[in-house]
């Protein structure tokens, strides 16, 4: 087993101390830092994502793995030059106004982060204008809206309308998710896509940007 396999497996196990040891070992063995991230840390997180989607892993395990990955990234980061890491694009993520749910969106953020996206998480209870500002400021290709309440779902349409008003709708893909959200609703409000879980959200984004 290569040292990167060790890194990957420790991420899957969610063992942050072991990840740090493995990453240091990989560095000592002159593994390319980018490869440690892509083929070790992110590769592990991808497995976690698909196991989570298949309900073989559960939220606490995903959070542990994400922590472990972050611990590993921290060790490698100083060795990497800006621009060396592939960036698939920037996604602005937030839970819409009136809605205080944070967990699902955080899981989505973890998945995007570990799939090579630059993630700008602007939190929860976010007014439409804030989404527009963030899209502008970070030049985002995608904006991801989360709503967990039937009462806040309509706010997703408000965000889309506000993006239109600001002349940004053509420049950014809008994807939506959250327990009460459906494909049907996504079409109704003119979003670009809907994802039923954190694991498929990145695949959806990959498709939309392809």
């Amino acid at each position: 087993m290569s040292v990167l396999e060790y890194v990957k497996n420790s991420v899957i196990k969610g063992d942050d101390e072991q990840v740090v040891k493995d990453v240091n070992m990989a560095i000592d063995m002159k593994e390319d830092p980018i490869s440690i991230i892509n083929n070790g840390l992110i590769a592990g997180m991808n497995v976690v994502g698909s196991r989570f989607k298949a309900e073989e892993m559960f939220v606490p395990e995903v959070l542990m793995s994400a922590q472990a990955m972050a611990a590993g990234v921290e060790v490698v980061q100083p060795l990497i030059k800006e621009g060396d890491i592939t960036n698939k694009g920037t996604i602005v993520l937030g839970t819409v106004k009136g809605d205080l749910h944070d967990i699902g969106k955080k899981l989505v953020a973890i998945m995007f982060d570990s799939n090579g996206y630059n993630v700008v998480d602007i939190g929860f209870d976010v007014p439409a204008e804030k989404f527009v500002e963030a899209v502008k400021e970070h030049n985002a290709q995608i904006v991801g809206l989360s709503a967990l309440l039937t009462t806040t779902m309509p706010e997703m349409k408000t965000v889309i309308d506000t993006l239109k008003g600001a002349g940004l709708r053509d420049k950014v893909k809008v994807i939506i998710g959250g327990a009460p959200v459906t494909e049907e609703f996504s079409e109704e409000i003119g979003a670009d896509g809907y994802s039923p879980d954190a694991g498929s959200a990145t695949q959806l984004a990959d498709r939309l940007l392809a």
Binding site: F58, V59, P60, L63, L100, I103, L149, T151, P154, P180
Partner: protein, 263 residues
């Protein structure tokens, strides 16, 4: 325990479809089953109907009250929908729910007072979900002050401490247990309820956690729950726990339940 039957909720796929198809028989059947299983209130929620929630909620109230004798729990964050539903509801309804968020509070309070309803008060305010037991108590105090001032009786208030998932932080269970204990001490006559299944979000075999947590909350003084009354195991635990806590005179409810099962 005051059992609020949670099944007629439009976020459930079968209910959403039954509302769409105006399937009166389906909804009425679930209402009757919940009443027979021991529900003291039947919750009705049409929140998935974005465009015609008011109309559908009123329709639910009407058809459910045709077949059950227990009052309903009118479940909507929209004060206008609640107001419309209360106009046609017979008897004293329970409203689900008010919070300390200013806009919702100001609009809903007069509706509750005017209709003399009971009210579920979520322990949250503009700053969001409470983070500690202390924050919950502070919000609960503000809510209680306001509601009591408006003439609502203590026994008509149902505090909901807002359960958060253990999968995110293992202390979220303790936080709720501490909150219930403190609320019970501060307000001996209010009701404390919870839709506590959020505790197990993100974990496998959620019902095991839900069941353990139900018993623990009851020990701390929770006297109501928003649950599926058709879940026999959960209802068994509730009835047994009440007996153990000295809340079931001569253990008659417990005995009655066992007898009903063996017959």
């Amino acid at each position: 325990m005051i059992i609020i039957g949670e099944l007629i909720n439009s976020t459930r796929k079968d209910i959403k479809k039954a509302i769409e198809d105006e399937d009166v028989a389906y909804i009425q059947d679930i209402a009757k089953k919940q009443e027979a299983a021991g529900a003291d209130y039947i919750d009705v929620n049409a929140g998935m109907r974005l465009h015609d929630e008011i109309e559908k909620l009123c329709w639910l109230v009407k058809i459910v009250q045709e077949v059950v004798n227990v009052p309903l729990c009118i479940d909507s964050p929209n004060p206008k929908a609640i107001d419309a539903a209360l106009k046609i509801h017979k008897g004293q309804a329970l409203v689900n729910s008010i919070t300390m968020e200013k806009e919702r509070y100001d609009e809903l309070l007069p509706i509750i007072v005017k209709n003399n309803t009971r009210i579920i008060a979520l322990c949250m305010d503009e700053t969001g979900m409470p983070k500690t037991a202390e924050q919950r108590i502070n919000v609960a105090k503000k809510l209680a002050d306001g509601l009591l001032d408006a003439g609502i009786k203590e026994e008509d208030i149902f505090f909901d401490p807002l359960v958060k998932p253990l999968s995110v932080d293992i202390n979220f269970g303790n936080e709720i247990l501490d909150s219930i204990e403190a609320l019970r001490k501060e307000y001996p006559n209010v009701n404390i309820t919870s839709g506590l299944s959020n505790i197990s979000f993100g974990l496998p075999n959620r019902s095991q956690i839900n069941q353990a947590f139900m018993v623990m909350c009851m020990v701390k003084g929770m006297n109501s729950a928003i649950v599926d009354p058709l879940n026999e195991r959960m209802m068994d635990l509730i009835v047994s726990s009440e007996a153990c806590l000295g809340l079931d005179k001569f253990c008659m409810n417990y005995i009655k339940r066992q007898r009903a099962k063996s017959s």
